[in-house]
Amino acid sequence: MDVVWLSRLQFAAATYFHFLFVPLTLGLSLLIAVMETRFARGGDPMWQRMARFWGQLFLINFAVGIVTGITLEFQFGTNWSRYSAYVGDIFGSLLAIEATAAFFLESTFIGVWIFGWKKLSPKAHAVVMWLVAIASNLSAVWILTANAWMQHPVGYTISQAAGRAELTDFLAVVTQRAALMKIAHTLSGAYVLAAFFVMGISAYHLLRRQHQEFFRRSFRLALGFGLVFSVVELIQGHMHAADVAEMQPTKLAAMESHWETGPQAPIYLLSIPDEEAGRNAVAILPLPGALSLLAFHDPSAVVQGLADFPREDRPPVLITYIAFRVMVALGAYFVAVALLGWLRRNRLEESPWILKLVLFSIPLPYLAIAMGWTVAEVGRQPWIVYGLMRTRDAASPIAAGQVLATLIGFIVVYGLLGMVAFGLMVRTVRKGPDAVPAAAGSQPTGAAGVR
């Protein structure tokens, strides 16, 4: 395998792994901030115990998210040096702003949060959690803006003299629709994941009839959050796809395995792409005009097919197509489950089947998010910056052996790290809330655990 392929695999491994941990922290940080605010306002210590219990799970994910994120910041230079040199004038500033304006805030205040339970008043401690939550989400906003620029580059000009892309309009980069859509889509997805995580773990304890009030409350807090954002995600996802239709026609065509340009483009309920032949091997159960309608809000609109594009400009179809369908199906499933939970919200423990459903649904938002990134990134191929720079032209001119060695290193280290983090999470969940050291004042000193 050549350097480009190895670097792609390495970056894929590093980003997928990173984003197994980040979405939970984006949503859970907000939920914990709400819990602490409730405690600070009302003084009911259960809210604080909730913040502490969920905080432990939050921190395990936060730690892994941080260390894997720092690595990514440098990988554009190590593995994608030609990309970095070509677009650094625009892309680099977004990463630097992320570090300066957001990452500092979350990293500094997470230390204050962990160590500050007894040094700060409940109110101040809640404020610190809000800062961590807001900063984490702001961090995501900047990174997603940078990714959106790779999907739909704006606000730049190509300088022939300097041989690179140069920034002309920063506001265009940060306010473009592609960025706002991507931010809304990814953050909503992260919130759904966090909600299902909290609901699922609460369901685990409710099914065992332990800490019932504690987990009933946790469940209901997450349920409202999950219901709102799963509905938002479904509607917004549709708008996002309509934008993709306009901005990245090859990606949209791959998402639907759509080959022939024409009006009243159908969606086939079942199709199997044949990428070699440039058509669908199987395409049955068409919904006439559905693709035109969804993509352009007009059942007779013309939708460009992949056959219109030279082979070298087409993304891998099968992967994009499957990933998209799985993501959409799961998106609809989350709305259904959240609605079911909402209807039975006052009789949760009388509905063990709903609790079980929610418990076993914990992995699904993870899958949906991974599929979403697959659509976004594989669907963008063969471009690293859509229409501007090809992935094959972007890699560093370094020895393949080096990249292979670090790829193996990442797989081994991240594999072990993933297992450890997972094991610690399971352990924390099983132990339940009583394992958490009691808060200041609510227990005699000395009871706070030596860990």
């Binding site: 921190l59 230079g77 040096s81 230390g111 700060l120």
Partner: protein, 341 residues
Amino acid sequence: MLLESVWFFLWGLLWAVYFMTAGFDLGVGILLPFLGRDDTRRRLMLNTAGPLWDGNEVWLLTAGGVTFAAFPRVYAFMFSSLYAPLMLVLFGLIIRGVAFEFRGKLPELGWQRLWDVCMFVGSLLPALLLGVAFANIFRGLPFDGQGYHGTVASLLNPYGLAGGVLFVLLFVVHGAIWLSAKCDGELQRQAAVVAGRVWWVLLAVAVVFLAATWIDTGLYGNYLAHPVLWLVPLVAVGALLGVKRCLLGGRYWLAWASSALTIVGVTFFGVIGLFPNLFPSRQAPDTSLTAFNAASTPRTLTLMLVVVVLFVPLVIAYQAWAYRLFRHKVTAATLDHEDVY
């Protein structure tokens, strides 16, 4: 020209602040097997850095991010050329970061030992390799118009190694002083003794390094051209001597401040000597990457300057607040009564 020069020194400042702040927590990690006789000791040591190390590490991320934004060609060429050492630094920081968080999660001795090893290796590798990397940058690297021709072995030349050792010693002294200021009893006493003893080694290595810099690099050129610049290395040397004086007087916080000034002084000694080079070539000096030929457009530099001027003072303010909030000593009682790792 002015904008690029300002950015050059801001770039140096971010690295200096990273070394100054993270230097002590890296040093504590390196000292862990030497001063951490038992588990309580090791927990005391780690908890002196507990609330602060994460915020410290972001200065590295920002230095990297700013290199990308202000000098994209340097970011691209430096990090791909120094691929293997940089990856080792990153792997070190990964295992170290999770070691802080995971170590205390299980009571088993083997588990804690495992993370202690990660803490040590993950602290030593970045300290050593960043030193090796910067020394090699001072010296110039083997590349020309065709590309980079060096290997990991070529980085481990005597001057590069001296740079690595110098960084490790700077951070060890910095960390030992930090422990002297933050701990009490036996641990404080031993940390102060270690700081005092390693200080002599540091002094010797610093002298050798400064002399070798004269022989092996062109760093002194700027100083000879503008003698007023000698003030910077003089401050560094003065601060280093001040460290010893404060240590002898038992004024540990002052010693730490002096050590911080030493680190900033040493970093700026190199940065000023390098100017305007960011990534100089030893083989073909005309292909060196400089603040002028590798910078972003004035538009991006201005934008980033606004961001930095707005946010960095704010960052310093809230980090200073966090340092103040956790200024107390970390003692056995702290471990029992406070939220700690």
